[in-house]
Amino acid sequence: MNVGDELPGLSVHVTRDQLVRYAGASLDFNPIHWNERFAKSVGLPDVIAHGMLTMALGSRLVSDWLGDPGRILEYGVRFTRPVVVPDDAEGAHVELTGKVAQVRDDGTARVDITAKFDGKTVLGKAQCVVRVS
């Protein structure tokens, strides 16, 4: 693992179906994630994805690359922009990329993640600390 190494990218179409599934699995039933009428009533353009789902896609990028999710020691993100999910088969297209930003003497490394939707980043300061081996 070296500074500057790029992780294989991950491209995900987040659909309404996945939001309902994630709501059930995560026990987050906030209606802004499944009820268009409610989402619009609070000023959102449409139903939006759970920030925690987008966060989970970021860790998937890293664990797919590591092969072992148990090597992710620390993971944090800021939720900076919503991922708006239309009611169609295509859903919202989220593109995730990552890069090794730091390799430390203690056997850990920092990986920086970029998550983009509609050409704009949706997570800020998305960083994982991983065990190098």
Binding site: Q18, S26, L27, D28, M55, I72, Y75
Partner: protein, 147 residues
Amino acid sequence: MPLDPSFIGRTYPPTSTYEVSREKIAEFADAIGDDSPLYRDTAAAEAAGYADVIAPPTFLTVINLAAINSIVADPELGLDYSRMVHGDQRFTHHRPVRAGDLLRLTTRIEDIFVRAGNDFLSVRADVETTDGEQVCTTHAQLVVRGE
């Protein structure tokens, strides 16, 4: 009305014990579209050095969110949930969560401050097994948009 800063340091003890099941881990992994065998196949998890299947890095949201929401719903704090958004989230794993874990979660309000007319609330949760083994520490920042 700004949040009352005297809530800084307030601790909410665990109210229940959560048992991590293989089924819930697999359900969560399916929901995030992650097909890693370490979430589903005990033999694969054992071969990787784990006592049982492990959970995805953000799995503890299943109990963390409920704990945050119980603070948010504290009537004394007086937070307007309809104007609240999740600002950031962090998980620090002391070891991976695995099936069979009996977890208890203690939350603490670490900070309350106002910036640019918005209220910020920082909440920490310490997740331990019923035997007192530290498993994970979570940090969340909640933002209540100004009126």
